[in-house]
Symmetry: D2
Subunit: 387 residues, 4 copies
């Protein structure tokens, strides 16, 4: 069976997620299109890289990503670093003919994203952006219903991504709150997942009208680590520094196909932990999804008799998208790992069988354009077109 | 015990709701501030009026609302007619010194509403607009938490009112789809309830940015009755006529106090029957409410220890607003009737004890101004101020 | 239109519920079979009776129930007293040819219940026991599905009634905790509602196997009032007295038709306020109901395609049982009042049109037999037959 | 870092679950107590074994489990075969000094289980039964609350495990429906998980009173594979054979500490896919859990002020049990994989650091005793003691 050598740049929590995906993919999708082989892990120091390589089951390690990107043994470069290094690494990888998996958002701006897209197109390599949530089977099931026409013409889309891990003003100023590294705040970090779902399910977005807020204007400077996702709260007299990105975005949307919608992303929603939801109304039915209860999709069909019509709570299993590869009955348990396994499979499959895969850098670029338009709209207080 | 004579103008389903409220109010609030006495029911013909009077327990009936408004025996005029007659009746009632309960929305436009407000102020009578939903105990509980500061400074508000009774294009063209009678569509009929809640819970709205849609552009002409709420669907070749009001509104909101928000109202949400929801995020907590499960409020307090923090599902009962007057334990059952009983009480109490009551015509007027701004914003495709 | 004079014995919270039902019934069911007229209210003293009569809209009052039961002007005796007086009043009422509405449970024991049943049968009057919950439209919808065969042969039933208003050991010793008055505890007060639902939906129960517990063995003696439903907690050094009834019942059930089931009723379920639920599995489908969210029924049909099968959340409205008489769209709001209005209608309808009505004293008696069997089973620690 | 060589006997879907657990464990728990190394996979033929070894990442394969059990290089024997071979393999493994992970239930009967327990005790090896569900963080959180005393004295437990993958009579007769292989039906396959949770959370069970049913009395004989979990339905004229195990169990429980409870397990609950739930009422609070929404635990504390008391929906994350090793924020996604990773960790940790681990064979034996008592009770129609 064919093997593909993966080099992963970055060793944080996303490294964990990608590593178990590579390890688990052939177990779930068998026969696998190819077996991904964890070959080299890169982190900022040799010590960090060695430790992460042992932890995540990589054979080699390095603190020099450039040499790894040039390594002829490597087939795939997987980028799980903060946003500011995506472009440089990806462009170098493309120039060396590597297939590329890149964590989301693709880059800090549309301009950076465009250069990445140009590079992979020029190189003819496969490319993917890790908006993994859309690979939740229940979301793919919503897509299936829509493609089958079971919901009729889509009228609207309402998407949210609400969190509270940094709703406390004493949660630290990780790189996610710094524009120079992250590009934007709640928008880029979480809002882009919803933009990806909106495009996946409804179609491309043509115009946006947004408000942006930075409710928490300064946060404690974080020592010893860039990204702790707020798990360690500061107390006492700590040095604080300014947050220069948004922590809440509210947006109206217009889709190319005439549907309308809204997008809300916030880091200040106490009680909402990873509240990725969408509700879509079509002429013939509706769907509702909440990632916090991700094994299920709610769907209502107008064709049901009136005395037995209502949202159906469908738990996904073998009869639903990706289900044959996952667990033998519904509700056995879809977790973050499973979404990443499906993502890894579809990427490897695209490489081996020369298929299109989505979301790719083209999608990532479009999402960046829409994100930039959202920030521009919030700044100008008016509708901004995305094309 | 003091009695107040009520004359009710209109005998449709709202007549039912108001009638049981008057009958039941003293049973729930005892000793009652006064006992409302169902004296005269007015409908468009004597026959309809007589029938409705018998049904709703009124002593007299009439098809001449003007004479009833002038009847010196009448203390209260209760207006439950379609929107186009609110202003004329209310102004006449005020000029005759009657206290006025008026169904929502107050009128078709801000201009009409202003004339009504001027009339009641000039007359010095008590006035109320029947946005009854806010009298659901769980909503009043949200208000209490906010007033106690338990949620901290309010950051945002997201409100929805989604229905599907007219999502079928063959549901009839009742007056609710005709601008000359209704003023607007989903906005005035249901969206205004959410505006009322937003103002009640967060504060007044200073600026709006809206999209309006009329997805279903024509409907069957309805024979034999103005308002069947879509329960009888047309089939076969029926005459259709144009809908000239919105059936979906999506709006961004800015509040005077700096909070932001959104409002969505649609008649095309298959599976959502009376889906009035709001979610509010504050610096110290959040609330979520869904009228379809109206006995409960969900609230999260940031001050809870992290290992036991999450939304609490609080069922309202005697320990919560209005609870002492309602049922002896939580979840015994709050229905539409109970919201109307509380409303009737607060109105009678305001009359007898010369209290302020809300939402009154001032509120109704402000809601009309905001509604007009929403339509103007959708038309102009830009933010519109409401003051 | 025909009028029926009602005399109500008892003026507590159930008096409120029955009074608004009589007032509201013709408003909802129109033309009404007859208009119930609130004629005489009886309470233990003239002062209490006069006060309750004013509150609940009765024309007369009395502290002598015997004379009222004999009053030839009275058509209906409505018994809303504690359980120990049901039999005596009902038998006297029957002997005077009155139709009888009696609060549940019918009496303290099967023996008492049998005497009541014999009396009404001998008198040929109409009789009903106020197990109102089954008149929730969503429960009647479950019944409809079952009768239509949509769930296939019924395999099992799981019912619960969980409360917490007296989970605090300092909530007072009302009559509901005294065997001499109440007959039993959680079983008679709340468990009987579930037995009623089980019989209504599945069929009669042939055998029971139970455990009974009295977790809270003593409670503060209550001053000034028999039944406060625990809203006033005692504090400090208060006199306590023994509880001699159960506060938790767990029971296995066998139905005559071969189905099996279970029943759980407890007063010690913190967080469960009025948690009346049932889940029924049939060969072709399932239903789930939770009264705390009573506007909805959940139903799953095995015949749905596997990729869109799941519980449907159906909100009841005009297309569902009783819906035509209630509110014009689903989820406008079914409360305790609405269940009592339907109950009052069906009773009046049975009187006027000489129909069978259920649950009647025959049902009440069977429920008492089953209840006695549950207590006997718990005592003997073995299965007990109910016939 | 220390390595432990694992040999896995069996290559079905449980093999997948255990394999990804071994691969992922060090990624999540780092530094890991030891790194499990996937050394040998055993299946019934060489071809099947080779294929499964490649799929699940094992270095070697074999169709001779006895030689593998004797392999001195092997540290751990992981048994994921049908129930009828657990005892023979485990006893041989113990006699060869191997640590043993065994899928649940431990064996077909208490007698078999006892022999396995005796063997591991005699050998002094570590042993674990793979009741993985209790390693869901939300269940461990319930345990933590109980141990902290936050719920007070436990009064009762209600557990369910409801499925529908074989509710269709045309789903095939896999080994799970054959007593000679499985031992029992719904009881052993799914009910035992609930018994495990009951013992984990409340304490040991002293007495049971049960009903057992086999609603579907025959099923199509399955060709080409023992265990398809009903995903392929038969159609047309297929050969059917008798089911000789239960498909529904309803049981009352008495716990050693005085608490009472119930257990329901069924394979005939249309719409319930993997509906593992428990509700526990204590003197000071309650918890409710539903595995289908496994990221969350519902908990109610009586000490909350009455106006803000209700079930809290707590999503588990770093602040909750196992959370530090899993994902950085709550609701990122606990799936079946994550429960197995935690299980693998605790087993490896017990081996390396010579700790007690639970559920072990002692627990598995007790569960088998209780299971046998349930079947005996259902047979004899009376309470049966478990000790």
């Amino acid at each position: 069976m064919r093997k593909l050598n993966v080099a992963m740049i970055g060793g944080g929590f996303m490294g964990k997620a990608h590593s178990i995906a590579y390890a688990g993919m052939p177990m779930f999708f068998w026969p696998a299109p190819a077996v991904p082989y964890r070959r080299t892990l890169v982190d900022v120091t040799d010590e960090l890289a060695k430790n992460a390589a042992e932890r995540y089951g990589f054979e080699k390690w390095s603190s020099d990503w450039r040499s790894v990107v040039e390594d002829p043994e490597v087939d795939i470069i997987d980028i799980v670093t903060p946003n500011d290094s995506h472009a440089e690494i990806a462009i170098a990888a493309a120039q060396n003919g590597k297939h590329i998996m890149c964590e989301k958002p693709l880059a800090r701006t549309a301009e950076e994203s465009k250069r990445m897209l140009d590079a992979v197109k020029a190189a003819g390599v496969k490319h993917m952006v890790a908006f993994n949530y859309r690979r939740t089977p229940a979301i793919a099931l919503a897509k299936k219903y829509i493609e089958e026409g079971a919901l009729g013409k889509i009228l609207n889309f309402r998407g949210t991504y609400l969190q509270d891990w940094s709703a406390d003003p004493n949660s630290p100023l990780s790189w996610r709150f710094q524009k120079s590294i992250a590009g934007s705040g709640a928008l880029g970090d979480i809002g882009t997942h919803v933009i990806d779902m909106a495009r996946y399910l409804v179609g491309d977005i043509s115009e946006v009208m947004a408000m942006a807020k930075t409710w928490i204007k300064e946060r404690p400077v974080q020592s010893g680590g860039l990204d702790k996702l707020g798990t360690v709260k500061a107390s006492g007299n700590v040095e604080k520094s300014a947050v220069d990105v948004d922590d809440e975005i509210s947006t109206l949307l217009r889709f190319e196909n005439g549907a309308v919608g809204s997008l809300e992303a916030t880091r200040n929603a106490w009680g909402r932990n990873n509240y990725i939801t969408f509700e879509i109304h079509g002429e013939k039915g509706s769907v509702f999804f909440n990632y916090e209860r991700r094994d299920e999709l709610q769907v209502c069909f107008s064709s049901d008799p009136e005395d037995r019509r209502g949202f159906r709570t469908v738990y996904t299993g073998p009869a639903h998208p990706y289900g044959g590869a996952l667990w033998p009955i519904p509700a056995l348990g879809i977790g973050y790992t499973e979404t990443k396994i499906v993502e890894a499979h579809d990427f490897i499959d695209a490489i081996v069988n020369d298929k299109e895969v989505s979301p790719n850098f083209e999608d990532g670029y479009r999402i960046a354009v829409i994100s930039d338009a959202i920030l521009a709209s919030a700044e100008a207080d008016k509708w901004v077109k995305t094309k």
